[in-house]
C-alpha cells in the first residue's frame, strides 16, 4: 500500500475543562477528538460531517498544527507533524493550508488583499518581491478576481469574494492539502455554488487534496471522494462517498441523513427523529456513545464500545448492528 498524503492515527485531543484563575481546578475533560483514524489521498477530498460540537474543527486544528494532540499522530507523507523541528514545520506550513467558515473574520481587515495572499510567501521568504507580486496576480486571476484587487482592503469585498481571497491565500504556497472548515456555510445559496465550483476546478488543476468539513450532506456528496461521519469525537462511519450515500449503515448516520430536508415537498424521507439532546462531551455515554439516542439500541451498546469494522470493501462502521462484513 502506498503511503497516502495524510494519515491520521489514533488521534486524540482532550481539553482540560478548568475553572478558576489562579488555582485552576480540573473539572474533567472534554474529549473533543477521541481516537480517530483516517487518510487522505493526494488530489482527493475527504468529507467530514457530523453534528455541531462533535470535534470536526478540533480535528482540523490538529491537522493544521494549531493544537497539539493529547495522543496519536498526524502524518504528512509518512512524517509525523507534531514535534517537528522549526525548519520542517515551515515546510509543513507550506504544504497544508486552510480556508475557514466565516469569510468576515478570516481576512485581516488591516491588510491589503495582496498582503493577505502573499503572507505565507513572505514569511517563508519564498522569493523576491516582484516574484511574489507576480504570484499574487496569478492567484487572483485563478480564483476569479482581478489583479487590481491586490491593492484593496477586505471591507470592499462581498462574502463570496472574500472566500475567494481566502482560497487564493491558501493556494499561494502551492499546498498539497487544504483544510476547508465549512467553507460555504456562511454564504448564500447562490454564492455557495460559485465557490464549490471553484474548489472543484482548482482541485482538478492543482491536484490538491481537501479535507472538507461540512454540516451540509449535499455539499459533501457533491465534493468528497471519501466521507467520514463523526459523533461525539469519534468516527462512526467512514466510506467512499458513493458507498456511504447509497448505503447508510450507522444509525446515527441514518438519523443525520434523514434529517436532511428533501428539496421538494413531494419527496419524503423516512425521518428518524432523534430523541433527546446531544450528550455533553464532558461526560460522554459509556459504550457506544450514540446509544442514548439510538433508535436501534441493544443491551450491549451501553457496555461495549463498538470498533470500526469494515462491512463492505472500504466501508467502515462502528456499530454493534454490524458485527462483521
Amino acid at each position: 500500500m502506498t503511503e497516502p498524503l495524510l494519515r491520521v492515527e489514533n488521534l486524540r485531543k482532550y481539553f482540560a475543562h478548568t475553572k478558576g484563575i489562579l488555582a485552576a481546578k480540573n473539572m474533567g475533560q472534554v474529549k473533543a477528538v477521541d481516537d480517530i483514524n483516517f487518510t487522505i489521498a493526494t488530489g482527493e477530498t475527504l468529507g467530514l460531517v457530523g453534528e455541531s460540537g462533535c470535534g470536526k474543527t478540533t480535528t482540523s486544528k490538529l491537522i493544521l498544527h494549531l493544537e497539539n494532540p493529547t495522543s496519536g499522530k498526524v502524518l504528512l507523507q509518512g512524517k509525523p507533524i507534531h514535534g517537528m523541528e522549526r525548519e520542517a514545520l515551515r515546510d509543513y506550513r507550506a504544504d497544508v493550508q486552510a480556508v475557514f467558515q466565516d469569510p468576515w473574520s478570516s481576512l485581516n481587515p488591516r491588510m491589503t488583499i495582496g498582503k493577505i495572499i502573499s503572507e505565507s510567501l513572505t514569511v517563508t521568504k519564498w522569493g523576491k518581491r516582484a516574484e511574489i507580486e507576480e504570484r499574487v496576480r496569478d492567484l487572483l486571476i485563478e480564483v476569479g478576481l482581478r489583479p487590481e484587487h491586490a491593492q484593496q482592503y477586505p471591507h470592499e469585498f462581498s462574502g463570496g469574494q472574500r472566500q475567494r481571497i481566502a482560497l487564493a491565500s491558501a493556494l499561494a504556497s502551492k499546498p498539497k492539502l487544504i483544510v476547508l472548515d465549512e467553507p460555504v456555510s456562511a454564504l448564500d445559496v447562490s454564492i455557495r455554488a460559485q465557490i464549490l465550483n471553484l474548489l472543484k476546478d482548482i482541485q482538478e488543476r492543482e491536484n490538491v487534496a481537501y479535507l472538507l468539513i461540512a454540516h451540509n450532506l449535499a455539499t459533501v456528496r457533491h465534493m468528497a471522494h471519501q466521507t467520514a461521519v463523526m459523533y461525539l469525537g469519534q468516527i462512526v462511519e467512514y466510506a467512499p462517498t458513493k458507498s456511504l450515500f447509497d448505503d447508510v449503515q450507522h444509525p446515527y448516520t441514518k438519523a443525520l441523513f434523514s434529517a436532511v430536508l428533501p428539496d421538494h415537498p413531494d419527496l419524503q424521507n423516512d425521518e428518524i427523529v432523534l430523541a433527546g439532546e446531544v450528550p455533553s462531551p464532558l461526560d460522554p455515554p459509556s459504550g457506544c456513545r450514540f446509544h442514548t439516542r439510538c433508535p436501534f439500541v441493544m443491551p450491549e451498546c451501553s457496555q461495549e464500545e463498538p470498533p470500526l469494522r469494515e462491512t463492505k470493501p472500504g466501508h467502515l462502521v462502528a456499530c454493534h448492528l454490524y458485527p462483521t462484513a
Binding site: K19, G20, I21, L22, A23, K25, M27
Partner: protein, 306 residues
Amino acid sequence: MRRYILQRLWQGVILLILVTTIVFFLGRLTGNPADLMLPEDATEEDRQALIETLGLDAPIHEQFIIFISNAVRGDLGDSHRYRTPVVEIFFSRLPNTLMIVPAAMILAILMAVPLGILSALRRGGLIDKFSGTIAVLGIATPNFWLGMVLIYVFSVQLGWLPSARMGGFEHYVLPTITLGTFLVAGFMRLIRSSMLDILDSEFVKLARIKGMSETTVVWKHCLRNALIPVLTLWGVFMGGLVTGAIVTETVFAWPGIGRLTYEAVIFRDYPLLQAVILMDALLILLINLMVDILYAYIDPRIRLAE
C-alpha cells in the same frame, strides 16, 4: 459560587501582600520621619536618639520582618506621629469616610441610572445632550475645584449649607456632590453605552415582540443587564473614589481615611502609612468582593457556575 468567592478572597490576599510590600519599601525611600519630627535646630545626636526611639535604626529587611510578623499577629504598630496604635486611628476615621463614600455612590446611582437610561432611550435627544454635558463636566472638572466652587456658592454666598466638617445631614450635601460627580459621570456614560448595546439585543427585541410595555422592557430587561458592565468596571471606579476621597476630605476638612492616608505619606508616618494602605486595600477588596457577589446575584451565569 462559594468557589468564586473563595477565589476572589485568595486573589485578594495576594494583592494585599503585594501592596504591603511595595508600600513598605517605597515608603522607606521617602526619607526619614525623624527629619520631619525634629525641630529645625536639632543636632545629629537628637536625630539618632529619635531614630532609635522610632525603631528605625535596624536594617530595612529586619524592619520588614518585624513588621510582617507583628502584622500577622494583628499588631500594626503605633503611629510615629500620633503615638497611638494605627489600627485605632484607622478605625476612628473609617466611619467618617464610610459616611460619604456610600452616599456619593448612592447619589451617583440615583442620578446616573435614570439619566444614563433615558439618554440611551432618547439617543441624541435633549436629555442625552444634557447628560452628556454633565458627564463631560464631571470628567473635566477637578474635584477640589468643584468642591470649592460649591462651598463658595452654597455656603458663603447663599448661606444654605455649611461649608465644611462633619455634622448633621446638611453637612453631607456638598462633600457627597463633590465626590459623587465623577462617579455620576462615569456611571452615566457606562450605563448609557451598555444600554445602547442592550437595546439592540435580540432579547429586548423578543421582549417587545411579546408585547411587554416599554417600562418592563427598560426597567426589567435592560437595567439588570446594563448594570453588569458597570460592576465589571467597578475596580476602575474604586481607584478614582479613593483619590476623590483624599481630595474631598481635604477640601471639606473631613476626618476620613482618605485624608489620613495622605497625611501618612506626607509625614512619613511609616506604621500609619503601612497600616492605612493595608487597610485601604483590604477595604477595597471587601467592597470589590461585595460587588462581585452583587455581580453574581445580577448575573446568573456567574451565580450558577460551579
